[in-house]
């Protein structure tokens, strides 16, 4: 998966979980949980959508990789 594809999947997932968030405004190092106000349930749904889309298993230990947009893209693309 190329970084661009990864970014696109991540942004779509975020749009679904937090519809009122301005996706365009997210910078590479925005903290997805704190800055976008995702609570644990939202984050769980975010992970669920990502693993569904990419077909990869995302264990709880991998959650830290998804902290920011940049780290998430790197991890998904690099994965």
């Amino acid at each position: 998966m190329t970084p661009d594809q990864a970014r696109q999947v991540i942004e779509e997932a975020l749009a679904q979980v937090a519809p009122d968030v301005d996706i365009g405004g997210i910078t590479p190092d925005t903290d997805l949980r704190d800055d976008l106000g995702l609570d644990s349930l939202d984050f769980l749904r975010f992970v669920e959508i990502l693993s569904g889309r990419t077909g990869t298993q995302i264990a709880e230990d991998d959650y830290p990789h998804l902290a920011t947009l940049a780290s998430a893209v790197k991890w998904l693309a690099g994965g």
Binding site: S40, L41, L44
Partner: protein, 470 residues
Amino acid sequence: MPALGADMDEGTVLEWLVKPGDEVHKGDVIAVIDTAKSAIDVESFYTGTVEQLLIGVGQTVPVGTVLAMIAEPAAQPAAQPPPAGPVEHKEPERPPRPAAPPKRKLKRVPAGEGHPTATISPLIRKRAHELGVDLAKLRGTGHEGTVTRADVERAAAGQQAAALKPPSRAPSRVRATPRARRLAAELGVDMAGLTGTGPDGSVKEADVRRAVPAREAAPAREAAPAREAAPAREAVQPTAASAARSGAERAQSMRQAIGRLMARSKREIPHYYVGNTVDMTRSLDWLHERNRELEVSERLVPAALLLKAAALAARQVPDLNGYWLDDQFSPADAVHLGLVISLRGGGLLAPAIHDAADLRLAELMSRMRDLVIRARAGRLRGSELTDATITVTNLGDQGVESVFGVIYPPQVALVGFGKVSERPVAVGGLIGVRPVVVTTLAADHRASDAMTGARYLAEVSDLLQRPEEL
């Protein structure tokens, strides 16, 4: 922008007939304004020199907007040149459009479920008082746990109504006339089993009277029409019906509704607070282990454990699970756990997870997720908004250590959970770092004492040490 008619809200500047520097006199036509009806000449109410045209040709502005500035003639020291057009003074505050008061959702007859309330009507409370029966210890046998006159009479006569099993929540709504429904409640008759002789098999008074066993069914003719005392319980939120109004308007009216409820709570309820730090090591390890093999969709979040513990503890300490009504505490039979959910646009809801204490963790988790999604989409059922018997607010995700909340009347307790944080803890004399959560309880001192509150938090802490039993 002058108000040029009873039904005009805004106007468009078609033409300026003056320019900065021009002299104008009271009554001179200085501009042409376009309204829904037509173009109209607008005169100046002032004499002076035009200083500045603030609104350009083609611009549409609401009535009352300042269009231009006119300097008064030199003779008077012009402190602040009065603008042309309308008199420049504070726009008379149009009273803020009163936000529609949240529709008072009567618990008694939520749409579709015509069963009477689980609370006790004053008539029966009076009867119990007459017969010296302690309502607190009485199990209502009426529909959904309503205490009936027959219960009171039987309790007074010493025989405990063991025979009649409290009817489970009637699967479908029984078609019965209001008269029959009220009589059934009073005579302790379960209508579910009756065949009605009314139109389409609906149950009528006569059917109910025939169903009362053995007792001589003298129809009690009440003289005055006794109105059922419906304890109006304020729903926390305006119903979805207000969804039609604009977002901002709805948020504002929701804010007002919450404000009123919280103010009433603070005014009427003598809160007491207790707090406790709970070691979460066992729970989190168990959770982590369990989630490892599970699909993402079945994984649990720590909040699920906290909620289950809160629900089970509420069942152990019934004094915190129920309602304060008519100056009395009425314990609820089931534990309907209110969950505070913050909405994206601001404001919050506290819908109930019914029978939370009986749910398995996975079920509780899916109920939580479903509730949050529906709350944020404004698709909650009326009963969910008003059924909670004790409420939990979990601010762990928001990263605060502890929260002491405000109770939702008429409930008598609010449980607070802070975030999971690593803390130095002495264990067996040695300092170790452990994940802990600060649990708090705000409770109504009329219904219980701090000792009961403490017993509750201890119970929660104890349950969290045995996560496998949750």
